[in-house]
C-alpha cells in the first residue's frame, strides 16, 4: 500500500540533536538592548524627565495599540498602493532612459533626465527604503519583499539593511552607537568632541551631497568597526566584493549601456551626462531629506546611560525625540519616501509608508498629551537648520543662550493638563 500526501508529514530526524531550552536559559551572549519589562532608565532624556515610569508605560501601550490598529487594517488598498507606485516608477524609468536616447535635443535631454531623476528618487525612497524595511513583507509577495529586493544604489541592499535597520534603527541617536550621527565624517552633535578636522564640516557635506550614495556605500562597510576589531577583515573583504559587483552593474547600466544605446542616435555623450545628472539629483535630494530626519534643531541625542534600562515606552520616546518630520503636500511626502514622517517611521519602521500620514495625527496628539516635543517644519527650514548645524559644529562649542528644544518644537508650550488620565503636563 502506498500513501501519498500533499505535504511531507514526517521529517527525517537523522542524528538530530535534542536538547531542552527553557525561559531561564542563561547562556550569556553579546546582546543588543533587550527592553526592560518595567521601570526605566536611571536618567531619562531631559525632554522626557517629567514623565514617571507609569506614564512611560502607558505611552508605550498607546503606541503599541496604534501599531496594532494599523496592522489589523492593512489590506488590498495598501497592496494596490505600493504596486501603483512601483508601476509608475518603472514606467518613468523606462520612459526616461528611452528619452535620453534622443538627448541630442535639449528638450529630450531635460525631459529624460527629469523623468529618470524622479524615477530614481521614487525607487530609492518610497520603494527601496521602505521595502527593505519589510514594510510590505506582510503581502508575502516575493517580488516586493525585504529578503529579495535589490535597489538602484551602489550599496548592496544586504549591507544597508544591516547598518540601517539593525544598527541605526536600534541605536537611534545614541552617541557612539548610532554612526548615522554624522556618518563618522561630520561632527553633528555638540557632545561629539571637536577636533581641527571638523573645520572641514561644510566642505565634506557639500561633497557628500551629490555623491551621497557613495557615502552610504562606504559607511555600510563599517570601516570603524574593522579598525576596532568588531568586524573581521574577512567580512570586510566579502562586503567589498559584493559592493564591487554592485558598482560594476550600476556603472554598466548608467554610464555604459544607456549611453551606448544612445550612440546610434548621436546622443551618447548627452545620455551619459543625463544619467550622471539624474544620479546626482537623486543623491542631493536623498541627502537633504535624510539630513532633515535627525539633524534639525529640536532633535535630541542620547547617551548610553540614558538608554540603560529602557522600556518599550522609553524606546518610543527616544525615537520621537531623536527624529524630525518635514511638513508638506502629499506629493512631497511620496517624494521623500514618507521619511517626512520620520518620527512615525522611527516608532514603527515596518508599517507601510502610505499609512504614516494617518499615524502622524495620533502620534502628534500623544506627544502633546504627554508633553513631549514633536519636531516638524517645511523642507527649506529643516534643510537650513541641518546645514546651520553643519557650519556651527565645524567650530568648537560655544555657550548657547537658550535650550533650542523648547523654541522649535511645535508642541511647546504644552497646554495645561485636562484629562483625568495619569499624565503630566510639561514642566517649565
Amino acid at each position: 500500500m502506498t500513501a501519498t500526501t500533499n505535504r511531507p508529514t514526517t521529517t527525517p530526524l537523522g542524528d538530530a540533536a535534542t536538547g531542552v531550552v527553557d525561559g531561564t536559559a542563561t547562556t550569556p551572549r553579546p546582546r543588543k538592548p533587550i527592553l526592560a519589562a518595567s521601570g526605566g532608565p536611571a536618567k531619562r532624556p531631559s525632554a522626557a524627565a517629567h514623565l514617571t515610569d507609569a506614564d512611560v508605560e502607558q505611552l508605550g501601550k498607546e503606541l503599541d495599540a496604534l501599531r496594532d490598529r494599523v496592522i489589523a487594517t492593512r489590506g488590498a488598498a495598501d497592496a494596490a498602493y505600493i504596486r501603483r507606485v512601483i508601476r509608475i516608477q518603472r514606467t518613468l524609468e523606462v520612459a526616461g532612459r528611452a528619452t535620453l536616447l534622443f538627448s541630442k535635443k535639449k528638450t529630450a535631454f531635460v525631459a529624460g533626465t527629469a523623468m529618470l531623476s524622479v524615477a530614481k528618487i521614487l525607487e530609492n525612497m518610497e520603494i527601496g527604503h521602505n521595502v527593505l524595511h519589510g514594510q510590505w513583507d506582510w503581502m508575502r509577495d516575493p517580488d516586493i519583499h525585504s529578503t529579495t529586493w535589490e535597489w538602484d544604489f551602489v550599496t548592496p541592499a544586504a549591507a544597508w539593511k544591516h547598518t540601517h535597520n539593525d544598527l541605526h534603527h536600534t541605536w537611534t541617536n545614541v552617541l557612539g552607537k548610532d554612526k548615522d550621527v554624522g556618518y563618522s565624517i561630520l561632527r553633528m552633535d555638540e557632545d561629539q568632541p571637536w577636533h581641527p578636522g571638523n573645520l572641514g564640516n561644510p566642505l565634506y557635506n557639500m561633497i557628500l551631497a551629490p555623491f551621497f550614495e557613495w557615502g552610504i556605500a562606504i559607511y555600510d562597510l563599517e570601516l570603524e568597526a574593522v579598525k576596532d576589531g568588531e568586524k573581521s577583515k574577512d567580512d570586510l573583504k566579502k562586503d567589498l566584493k559584493a559592493m564591487g559587483r554592485k558598482v560594476v552593474r550600476q556603472f554598466t547600466k548608467d554610464y555604459a549601456a544607456t549611453p551606448l544605446a544612445a550612440v546610434p542616435f548621436g546622443s551618447g555623450k548627452q545620455a551619459l551626462i543625463g544619467t550622471f545628472t539624474a544620479n546626482a539629483i537623486r543623491n542631493v535630494w536623498a541627502h537633504s531629506v535624510i539630513f532633515c530626519g535627525h539633524f534639525p534643531d529640536g532633535v535630541d541625542t542620547f547617551t548610553e546611560e540614558e538608554i540603560e534600562g529602557e522600556t518599550r515606552g522609553d524606546w518610543y520616546i527616544r525615537q520621537m525625540l531623536g527624529s524630525a518630520n518635514i511638513s508638506g503636500s502629499k506629493l512631497m511626502h511620496i517624494m521623500t519616501g514618507n521619511l517626512s514622517h520620520q518620527i512615525e517611521h522611527h516608532c514603527f519602521p515596518d508599517l507601510p509608508s502610505n499609512r504614516y500620514h494617518e499615524v502622524a495625527v495620533e502620534v502628534r496628539e500623544i506627544c502633546q498629551r504627554y508633553g513631549l516635543p514633536y519636531t516638524t517644519g517645511p523642507l527649506p527650514k529643516q534643510v537650513y537648520q541641518a546645514w546651520a548645524k553643519v557650519f556651527r559644529l565645524a567650530l568648537p562649542n560655544r555657550p548657547r543662550p537658550l535650550p533650542k528644544n523648547a523654541a522649535h518644537a511645535v508642541n511647546a508650550p504644552v497646554p495645561p493638563r485636562r484629562s483625568a488620565l495619569p499624565m503630566v503636563a510639561r514642566v517649565g
Partner: protein
C-alpha cells in the same frame, strides 16, 4: 532558447538591479523572475459550492501528470495565501483546479475568481498518478476527492480503448456531485468506464459502509483484481485503508493508493511551547512558550540570522514550514505555511517546523 537567454543577459544590463521580467511585467502580468504565474482563462460553476478555474500558466510551468496537484497562491485582502489543489484537467490541456468553498482561501477562490485574474503557481507535484502499465482500475472517491481522479479518467478513458475503470463516487446529493453529467456521458460513450454514484443524503440513502466488504462487493465485485485509488476526507480514507489492510492478507490486492488533502496540522496553541524542528540544520529542541525561536535555535547550535533582537529590523526572518508561533509582543498566535517569521519576537505555540 540560447538566443533568448543572451538577449535577456543584454537586457538585464539596462534593467539592473531589476530583471528584464520586472519591466516586461508592466505589460505582461505573467512575467516575473521570481514567481511562476498563471492567468485565469475560464471559470465554470460546477455545483452550488464548487468552481472549476482554468488557467494558462506562464513560462516555467511543467505539464502535469494525471492526478497531480499544484500549490496555488491567491491574493486575499492584499496577502498572498497558498493552498494545494489537485489538477482536474486531462493531461495535455491547460491546467484547471476545481475548488469547493470550504475554508477561507478556497471560499475566496471558488466565489471571487474572475477571468483575467492572476494566480501564483508552483509546478505540479505528487505521486497519486496512473500506474505505468495498463491494468484494471478501481477508483473510490468522496466529495472533492474526485478532482485528481477526474484528471485520470479524462486522460485515460477517451484515449485508451483498453481502459477499464470503475469509479465509485460518494457525494451528499446529486446536486453536490462534481462532474456528474460529464461522468455519465463518458460512461455512455466509452465502454471502458463504469460510474457508480453513491448519494449519502438522498432519500433512503446512507453512507458508504467501508467497515466490511459488502458495499464494495455490490458496487464492484472484482475490486480485488483492480489497482485501487482512493481520495476523499480523512475518515473516509482511514476506513478505506483499514479495509484494504484487513482484507489484504494474501498480498495480491494490497495496491491501494491514497491521496489526502488534509494539510499538516500540528496540535497545540497554548502558552506551553513545543518541539522545535530546524529542518535544514537537522536539529530538534523542546522550547518553552516564552523563548524566542531565535534563542532556542542559537542555543542548540543552529546558525540563525539575527539583527536587532527586538522585532524591528527583520534580519531574523525564517520561513515557517508547519506549526503555529506566538508573537511575544501581542500574544497573537499565527503561522501559515511559508510565512516568514520574525524569530526574535516569536515563540513556539505547539510543535513548529522551521526551514533553516
Amino acid at each position: 532558447m540560447t538566443q533568448i537567454r543572451a538577449l535577456r543577459r543584454v537586457a538585464s544590463l539596462l534593467t539592473t538591479p531589476l530583471a528584464p521580467e520586472d519591466i516586461i511585467n508592466l505589460v505582461n502580468p505573467l512575467a516575473s523572475a521570481r514567481q511562476l504565474r498563471g492567468v485565469v482563462t475560464k471559470v465554470v460553476r460546477e455545483t452550488p459550492d464548487s468552481t472549476t478555474i482554468h488557467f494558462r500558466p506562464g513560462r516555467g510551468w511543467n505539464p502535469h501528470a494525471a492526478g497531480q496537484w499544484a500549490r496555488i497562491g491567491v491574493e486575499i485582502d492584499g496577502v498572498r495565501q497558498w493552498r494545494s489543489y489537485s489538477l482536474s484537467a486531462a493531461v495535455g490541456h491547460d491546467p484547471a483546479i476545481t475548488v469547493t468553498a470550504i475554508g477561507f482561501v478556497s471560499t475566496a477562490l471558488a466565489r471571487s475568481t474572475k477571468v483575467g485574474d492572476i494566480l501564483f503557481l508552483d509546478t505540479p507535484q505528487g505521486d497519486f498518478v496512473l500506474p505505468e502499465h495498463p491494468r484494471p482500475l478501481f477508483m473510490l472517491t468522496a466529495g472533492s476527492g474526485l478532482t485528481p481522479v477526474m484528471s485520470m479518467i479524462r486522460t485515460l478513458v477517451p484515449r485508451r480503448p483498453d481502459a477499464d475503470v470503475v469509479l465509485v463516487h460518494s457525494a451528499r446529493t446529486r446536486d453536490d456531485a462534481l462532474f456528474h453529467d460529464e461522468l455519465l456521458e463518458l460512461a455512455d460513450q466509452f465502454p471502458g468506464l463504469t460510474v457508480r454514484h453513491w448519494f449519502t443524503r438522498e432519500e433512503g440513502s446512507r453512507r458508504l459502509d467501508l467497515s466490511d466488504v459488502t458495499d464494495l462487493e455490490t458496487l464492484c465485485p472484482d475490486w480485488r483484481e483492480r489497482a485501487a485509488y482512493a481520495c476523499g476526507p480523512t475518515d473516509f480514507l482511514d476506513a478505506a485503508t483499514d479495509l484494504w489492510l484487513r482484507d489484504g492478507d494474501d498480498a495480491t490486492h494490497t495496491n491501494l493508493t491514497i491521496e489526502r488533502f488534509a494539510p499538516v496540522l500540528l496540535e497545540g496553541s497554548g502558552g506551553e511551547g513545543g518541539l522545535l524542528t530546524f529542518e535544514k540544520s537537522d536539529k530538534e529542541v523542546e522550547a518553552g512558550g516564552d523563548v524566542p525561536l531565535l534563542e532556542a535555535g542559537e542555543d542548540c547550535g543552529v546558525v540563525m540570522p539575527s539583527g536587532c533582537r527586538m522585532g524591528i529590523c527583520r534580519s531574523c526572518l525564517v520561513p515557517l514550514v508547519a506549526g503555529k508561533v506566538r508573537d511575544l509582543r501581542t500574544g497573537e498566535v499565527h503561522g501559515d505555511e511559508g510565512e516568514l517569521i520574525q524569530t526574535c519576537v516569536n515563540a513556539a505555540a505547539g510543535p513548529v517546523h522551521l526551514d533553516i
